[in-house]
């Protein structure tokens, strides 16, 4: 059955043979183990709502065991005591193994998260290997500095691994987020306890298996699937975790920071929600701009924290743009993520699915005009039509809240100043896009928008070397780049007097 435009190619598992699920237990201290309670939870296929596998459910007591292993691996193990070059070799090997298992890993994310298999295969999983290689290459390039003392002092900084790091990652990019968190912390010499999202535990466990094969010592990487209020809370409030890094919703980020503050004051980095603006100016190529806007909201079903969910179009091209955007949205193909023709799979789970549909209702009630979409696709699984609202006011909830689905709010602006002001009218500040040919416009808007990444005439241009993170309630700290490494390092200043120095 072929995928239909805005229609749903019914679940057809013959499109791809789903590999048997090999790893469903907690990975602690180099071994797959049952949770202490023996509890399990189900991970669901979002195409059908059916169970893929039962997964060991880690809770506080399992986190305790994992932290103990990570602590021991950090305090007494070889990992932080190896040279960066030696750590790099093991990480490079791990990257090679991930490439060797590309198809199986891609299938795991596709089936677990409803992501497009053909995209995961060429984007997400290779990106994990690339990210590991990037940080492997950084492991022997962590430089402190020799400083100018105020008097006759010799002073320098040591960049030391921070210790045991707790990572809590989301379900929308299970592999990419795993790599973004684990690679720099391992390169720095830290040890890790990672909780994948309960919706998508499969690929993280497979990565852990490959890590062991590559030679990552036991205890250095621990993966504990489970739920936020139990396992996640245990990580963020643990007295023996030295740093916690979280990617997810703003609401949960707040809880994590609170738990860190009331436990051992561990430093926290947060990558949270967004309501990212895309500003399209009169001098833009309308057709290309419409493609970019559509991709910006529909990529990964809108389940991406940097989605361009607010599109501001300058009045001179607004009407033409709106027409093209709607045409293109109608041609967008929603279908089984294993069908290579599909451009959009199902939302990750029932909760998200219902939340998105309720926001669509809110949009209508608030008086926005529904230009296209607005309904589920088919009658099985969690597929939703690409949805576009016009006549959106800045204070409407669909223009303020993160919907995390294929729902775009289209707005009009007149001047650069007005565009900037509207774009910044958000509690979020994760990303922004600018479409213009004018260098002055591009530069002015780039500096004025309070967001962590600005894409000029492009969108979703991520790179291992490009730091990424939020302003305002989109969080703090950066993933990727050397910035992404520094948050896993402590800075120690060492000072000693010197005598008869010929220079100071």
């Amino acid at each position: 059955m072929t995928a239909l435009s805005n229609g749903h190619a019914a679940n057809n598992s013959s499109l791809f043979k789903i590999p048997p699920i090999k790893f469903t237990n907690l990975f602690i201290n180099g071994h797959f183990v049952h949770s202490l309670s023996g509890n399990e939870f189900e991970t669901i296929d979002p195409r059908t709502g059916e169970v893929i596998a039962k997964i060991s459910e880690g809770r506080k007591e399992d986190i305790d065991v994992a932290v103990k292993a990570a602590r021991e691996a950090f305090d007494n193990g070889p990992w932080p005591r190896m040279s960066g070059a030696e750590r790099a070799k093991i990480m490079m090997k791990w990257a090679d193994l991930i490439e060797e298992n590309l198809e199986e890993l891609a299938a795991l994310d596709a089936i677990d998260a409803g992501k497009l298999y053909h995209l995961v295969k060429v984007v997400d999983i290779p990106a994990v290997a690339n990210c590991l290689r990037y940080y492997a290459g950084a492991a022997d390039k962590i430089h402190g500095e020799v400083l100018k003392g105020a008097r006759e002092f010799h002073a320098y900084t040591l960049m030391e691994p921070i210790g045991v790091v707790g990572h809590i990652i989301p379900w929308n990019f299970p592999s990419t987020m795993f790599a973004a968190k684990v690679s720099p912390s391992l390169a720095a010499g830290c040890t890790v306890v990672l909780k994948p999202a309960e919706q998508t535990p499969l690929s993280a466990l497979f990565f852990a298996h490959l890590a062991k094969q590559a030679g990552i010592p036991d205890g250095v990487l621990n993966v504990v699937p489970g739920f936020g209020p139990t396992a996640g809370a245990a990580i963020s409030s643990h007295m023996d975790i030295d740093k916690v890094s979280f990617t997810g919703s703003t609401e949960v980020g707040r809880a994590i920071m609170h738990a860190a503050a009331s436990s051992n004051l561990k430093p926290v980095s947060l990558e949270l929600g967004g309501k990212s603006p895309l500003l399209i100016f009169d001098d833009a190529d309308v057709d290309k701009a419409a493609d970019l806007a559509l991709l910006g909201i529909l990529f990964n079903k809108g389940e991406i924290c940097v989605a361009s969910s607010r599109v501001f179009v300058q009045e001179g091209i607004y009407d033409e743009f709106e027409k093209k955007l709607v045409e293109k949205a109608k041609a967008w193909v929603v279908g089984d993520p294993f069908d290579p023709q599909s451009q959009q799979g199902p939302q990750v789970d029932k909760n998200q699915f219902e939340k998105i549909l309720s926001y669509i209702e809110i949009g209508k009630q608030e008086g926005a005009t529904l230009l296209t979409g607005g309904k589920r696709v088919g009658n099985k699984g969690y597929y939703i039509e690409p949805t576009i609202f016009s006549n959106v006011k800045e204070n409407m909830r669909i223009a303020q809240d993160e919907i995390f689905g294929p729902v775009l709010a289209l707005m009009k602006f007149r001047t650069i100043e007005e565009g900037i002001k509207s774009a910044n009218n958000s509690r979020y500040g994760l990303a922004a896009g600018i479409v213009t040919k004018n260098i002055d416009t591009a530069n002015t808007v780039s500096r004025a928008i309070r967001a962590g990444i600005i894409w000029i005439n492009c969108y979703f241009a991520f790179g291992n070397d490009i730091p990424y993170g939020g302003y305002k309630q989109s969080g703090f700290g950066r993933d990727f780049g050397m910035e992404g490494l520094h948050k896993y390092l402590q800075v120690k200043s060492v000072v000693t007097p010197i005598y008869n120095s010929p220079w100071l």
Binding site: P78, S83, G137, D140, H154, N464, D465, I498, S501
Partner: protein
Amino acid sequence: MGEKGGKRESSLIALSLSSTTTTTTIPMIPMPYKGVDLFVLDVWNENGNLSGGKGYLGAGFSRYSTATALEEEPIKPAVQVEHTQLLIGGKFVDALSGKTFPTLDPRTGEVIAHVAEGHSEDVDRAVAAARKAFDQGPWPKMTAYERQRILLRAADLLEKHNDELAALETWDNGKPYEQSAQIEIPMLVRLFRYYAGWADKIHGMTVPADGQYHVQTLHEPIGVAGQIIPWNFPLLMFAWKVGPALACGNTIVLKTAEQTPLSALYAAKLFHEAGLPEGVLNVVSGFGPTAGAALASHMDVDKLAFTGSTDTGKVVLELAARSNLKPVTLELGGKSPFIVCEDADVDQAVELAHFALFFNQGQCCCAGSRTYVHERVYDEFVEKAKARALKRIVGDPFKSGIEQGPQIDSEQFEKILKYIRSGVQSGATLETGGDRLGSKGFYVQPTVFSNVEDGMLIAKEEIFGPVQSILKFKDLDEVIERANNTRYGLAAGVFTKNIDTANTLTRALRVGTVWVNCFDTFDAAIPFGGYKMSGQGREKGEYSLKNYLQVKAVVTPLKNPAWL
């Protein structure tokens, strides 16, 4: 035989500090290669006594025994010489003139192979290939990630061919095979992996100007790099030059030393197997006055890097100035002080000072060739340094357990013997050594002079051979002044347990590297280069990237910026 043939160490650091231990204690003495002391002990055990057998332990007072093994047939290297042509534009080609030159086995002076001899017209061809590969790509136009992957694949291939590369290196150069196989080739691999990691981390800056301007710096590859490397560490010098140049996206014309052309040709071929596009790395074997001069004065070469003697470095700099003003990096000679303070553990200091001078047959630009010893420990030091030199195992470098092979060629061999005669004539005390060893090849006895004065030729000039000069000093200020009283400034060794002494000496010595309680500790990440007439610029580490990058400032006005 203990650790012999065991795990290959990836760096000299790993030799000085055990890589597996969790309690790294310093100072420890780096060995020329793992388990060198074991080798000595094993020879003792095998022979039962000092003078027996065919060891080179010195038969009593008649130093270095009879060197009988040197009269034996040299061991046949386990490698074929496959590549003797020039490598231009991705292909092995003859020189346009059809000329070749012989490369010699320093153990015997006999011909290993006849190698195509590049001249000016061959350099022109190579530069044209490099120019095209730079201007048209794909190399500089690839993503840094792709360049990184090619360098990583090349490193894997070099690692795979460790033993062949090591055998070629030893055959052509005369250095101990175990040193080649267990230290130098693993270090070569390490260097390329290190630079692979830099490829995607070459960052320009955004710059805060005083005014409404948006300013960025772009770090661009400089273009076609000309590189001229010496014969003492042919492959390591290859890596120091080629690694950063390739990581930054440049193309290269490399001239190897005429004494040691073989290993670079083999390595460069592996780079092409790894996917390096043709024309990116061109290797021209040949001589300095012809091929080297053509490269240094070429109008289409954008950058020149040279490692070798100070005299040649001057010529290279002049040629660059007279032609197209290409920027030049120079790593030149040295007369590096090794300072043993009064609080030193004499046994350790002796071993380290011995290593600092004799490593690689004394053919290191950073050799610790002026051993300054505090007067309180001087006598004991001299006696023990002599004893250590007497124990040094010299012989066919392919033989297991050998510490020292032959010097590179007859010219160096004669030069060293001339310096030894000069030392004797100037009144220094010849404690041990002083002559050739055996009757064929270029073996020189490990030689120790004591009572050396600063004004003697052997204390002023670079000998580049196994000749240790021991000088006496009284206090710190004095030794600082004397150590700095040289036209060179490459490296220094400081041996003390006192942190204040270490810090004072470290800052006062005008040299590019100070090794405190270690020596010859090289790693890809540690920059290396000279003060004064030891050269300019730094190789290795992040600093080396600067040699192969242009900085372009990009400035544009800002309209109504939200902040400045």
